[in-house]
Symmetry: D3
Subunit: 255 residues, 6 copies
């Protein structure tokens, strides 16, 4: 039995609250259990220098945690004057993942800025961020559609992320909370599209390793969890969801 009584293949309680803050073009508060992230999407009418004059848009992400989102207080990166490597990794990951389901040409020369601010952390902040950021981005694009900014909806498929791991006692488990993450041998983040393809796969076994059969068990769990996340995203998006192809059940897709 897991620390919080869940089954090995069970997600925590996932909540998505659309329009959580009023200024951004799209915003959500996403909760994976006690992990809470404010995701907002801002549309800017220009692209970064390296993308200019290509008729395409760009999606970029920033990630941060409130100093006391965690059990002990972290020094602010603004006070340190630089981002940690962990933050850079996460924000690069979020941006890269979102771009995989965006039709950059349909965006025109615009940038979507994604801000993921963790207000409370209990494991899985990067997967909650990707999953919530996708919804915030869709809401912002919907607002752009309403204002005739785009001809076609610039998102081509659903996108969600979940963590999986291997625990010495429990075996492969889905959606690790902080306590589980701290004692797991392996930690893997999986990002998939509604059509059942992988976008990112990042598995690491610090001071531990994992076999190919453990990898396969983890991937099976991830597919199951992500399929459930797609349903929650769909409900939150409401009518906007119709602009996206309905994600098909993933189970039979795995070989």
């Amino acid at each position: 039995m897991r620390i919080d009584g869940r089954e090995n293949d069970q997600l925590r309680n996932v909540q998505l609250e659309a329009g959580y803050i009023k200024h951004p073009e799209g915003s959500v508060l996403i909760s994976f259990g006690d992990t809470k992230v404010i995701c907002s999407a801002t549309i800017e009418d220009r692209v970064p220098p390296f993308m200019r004059n290509q008729g395409k848009g760009w999606v970029t992400a920033e990630y941060s945690m409130l100093p006391r989102a965690t059990e002990s207080r972290n020094i602010r990166e603004a006070a340190k004057g630089k981002l940690t490597g962990r933050t850079m990794e996460i924000q690069r990951l979020i941006g890269r993942a979102l771009r995989s389901t965006v039709d950059l040409e349909a965006m025109g020369e615009r940038t979507v800025w994604i801000d993921c601010d963790v207000i409370q952390a209990d494991g899985g902040t990067r997967t909650a961020s990707v999953t919530g950021a996708f919804v915030a981005m869709c809401l912002a694009f919907q607002k752009g559609m309403d204002e005739k900014m785009f001809k076609t909806f610039p998102v081509t498929d659903y996108l969600a992320a979940i963590s999986v791991g291997v625990d010495t006692e429990e075996g492969a488990i889905l959606d690790l909370n902080y306590a589980e993450d701290s004692k797991a041998d392996v930690d893997m983040n999986v990002i998939m599209t509604g059509s059942g393809e992988f976008v990112e796969l990042q598995g690491t076994g610090e001071e531990a390793t994992f076999s190919r059969s453990q990898l396969n068990e983890m991937l099976d769990l991830a597919e199951k969890g992500i399929t459930e996340l797609f349903q929650i995203q769909k409900e939150t998006l409401g009518e906007t969801a119709e602009k996206l192809q309905t994600p098909e059940p993933q189970e039979e897709k795995s070989e």
Copy 2:
């Protein structure tokens, strides 16, 4: 009539939600209308180098805004690699104000870190921060009392802050929202204690000036508003409020 229909001496709707995030020793979400700030208080078992070996504690504050707390997106200070002058001014102000009602000796050699993170901004973020931070700090000290960390409660008096200003059409007004702040000739922040004394007074009339009688009108409004804030703080603090002297009505104190 003010933009949002308020009387000149009327506060916006003020809400205080205690325990908003779970990890800090004390936390609140404070709202002054659409301005929302997460205030948290962390107790650390040491003091900064310049305070060591004096048997006294310290209170320090940090302030930040989410990039999209505002109408248009601000670049993160962590991304810029340095704090703006505005942020430094505000966090120095919050720390200085809180220290005026704290018995540093009763704290022992401990630091309280106050974090004020604005998740939505609509004017008055610094006054909401001071007012909310005071409550978060009291909650943290209450937790310390429960754990026998202190012999006496280290807070000596209530503390709250409000903005006042002069508008060409409306005259002196209380608790300016962003639209009012943008068109006001004068902006003043007032911080007072439960015993009716001033802690900070910061008035500025960029590209404008103000007379001594306008100053007096603004101070009258501020005293009225702060007295109301004390009642809201008291209700939020519940039993902890008993450890603080009940703030007396301020009206008769003004000359």
Copy 3:
């Protein structure tokens, strides 16, 4: 009796030496007792990005102290790689105050850079800086007038600043030196125009508070001191002073 034998309402010996360094368009060495500040004004033929294409000018200020302007040596901000919060507060204050008496449209799209470099500090460096910077700026504008840069003199009124405070033994006192500032309960900086209006009011009582009647006593002292500073500015400015309306005596203006 005050530490240096002054009356409570008495300024220190104030000196203004125009043209102290040869390169700037305007420069002074100002002394408030042992506090000595080199103020220089540079006219640049462009404005910062946020002011472009508005047909208006800008005034901005920078402030610094030599490392050994003070009793013990301070680390250079250039060596630390960043400005302290105190420096940022002061330079923002100087710029904001000067702009309140400048007709930005009369400047055209030009920037005045004010540099206040404290070579010796004994309390009141920010008030000496504002008072000296005003004169340096007027001298620079006079040079601009001589060169047909402006059609009308871009300064609309006198501007000066002084500190006031409350000392437990002495009561309200004017123009605190460092020793007085260190033991005062309250420290307030007041900036006023020649027409007797307030531009900035910043009062703080770290680990202390002040009542409204103490505030009024301090403001009375400040008005007296600033009126004297206007006379010294007028004498230093010589013929340029004629372009400014003569500051009227302030006493009868207070309610």
Copy 4:
């Protein structure tokens, strides 16, 4: 046929030159085709603060490229004053991977600093870095053994890394050079131990996705390539290799 005529499952020419620079405790020049990296290992007699007093050692890595290691010149990170996110990701990856095969307790309270400096880049710099750094670290530990610094050899298993990818025309390919990397849909870095377990798996399909069967094809190629790298490492290590368990052929390990 691949751009450079290789089979899909063929490594580039891999060279390892031990002792390439004279000062470090261990150093190699590693070449994966035209990709050339100087890897050095320094043993320091203390650990970072967060590891103190645990009786264990630490392994950390830094990565850099000469400005003109690439086709066009890159600005130095030292000139920019900060590391890029890419550099941080890579150096965190190298350190984490090496630690998975090191017995930190056998090291005592010492740090191994790994420096990977790319002098010429043609794809695969991070996998060449891991593979070369492992050998440099073993050489440094061998020197430590010779000097009686350790009781047992602190490395528990072989470690090597290779990239795999999916090309639209070629399908799954091993050890991508820069030209291949630029046009591949998917790029995956795999790090494995001599006993056939995974240490890190990082697959990404920017603006593309990959299926589970493509994942399996890539993993098969990676296992084959890494097995060949173990042989080259073994030959370079000479007698030191005897302190490590001989890596077994990996093919039959995959399920």
Copy 5:
């Protein structure tokens, strides 16, 4: 004839005003013509980490220019967040030069901080800085002697610096002002001791070169100028000068 009417071997008017600012242990205002530098010396009761526990002292220097010390305004290094290469070169030069005539063991474990702040620049700021800093340092050591801080006076010899150059029309010239420096082909800074030895020699001919005979002409001028500077230093030092061996005339020392 030189721009300002001087002979080729003639110094500008050199002034040394001791005790220019009141807080430092030693301070001077030095003028080489219109070049004016405030030099101060601070004695600190500890040494930097790399000098600890050696029973010796250290001398280090910092150099800066006011933004408007020059014809056009320079951006402050504190605002840029880093020192320029030019500043670093100069402050390293000043510190190194001063240390050559200091008996570090006689200092005990103390640091002398030299601050050279150029308030007006007209060529030769680094040579004026070295020459003035030497006097400020001697004054600080004299104060230390008066307070029984040292057993023997820690300065072993006089030290002064001058610039020399080669001008296409004038030939070799001494003590270049800014206009001369801008058009000279070669610029050389020479630092010598009272006993006629070289401490530093830095000659550079950007976009020009110089022959060995031109070098010799410049060195002859430098020796003459430095001998005159020693006399001015001696007069300024007064009784302190007796603790230093009288500099002997240098002419006969040159080969």
Copy 6:
């Protein structure tokens, strides 16, 4: 006898390997004994802002050492976030020296970026850098000539650098290795052109001084060593050398 058995006027073994890395327009690996530096030259089709619209080119240099180029490991400047004063001095020196033999007008509005990366250090890294950078730059210009980028070869003369010093026991010595440099009283770097003129002369005697006759001895050695370096450069340049005037023997040029 010197530490490594050389005569006082003898260079170490000097090697120049052209085309050491493949991407730059020009590159060499230069060795002065155990000191090894990769020098590369990049041609960029624009000039820095301060050189724009003058029809001239620019040459600039950057210098760095691998962390373990030295006996003990140095912290990377990229990790520290800023360049040391030593690095700035050296890279300014290299750029300035190279520009003295370049016809900037013949370059057109182009920049040559010189990168000197020390992979192994044993004294004389800056002189090896200048000497190698000159050859890398000539190779890059040769490539530009081949591509019709220039009408005339933009280099006007040979350029090389060597260190000389004074050792208490050995007297004046040429081309100091690290052990000699550490114990020498005086360290001087000399840069000369093929026509026997000085470009840079930087002599320093930290905690020591040197006489004019010692200076002359050192300059004689430097001229001899540099003449030998010109021959090695000429051999490496091959046909490109014909575009440069053959450096004449220098001995008779000294007075």
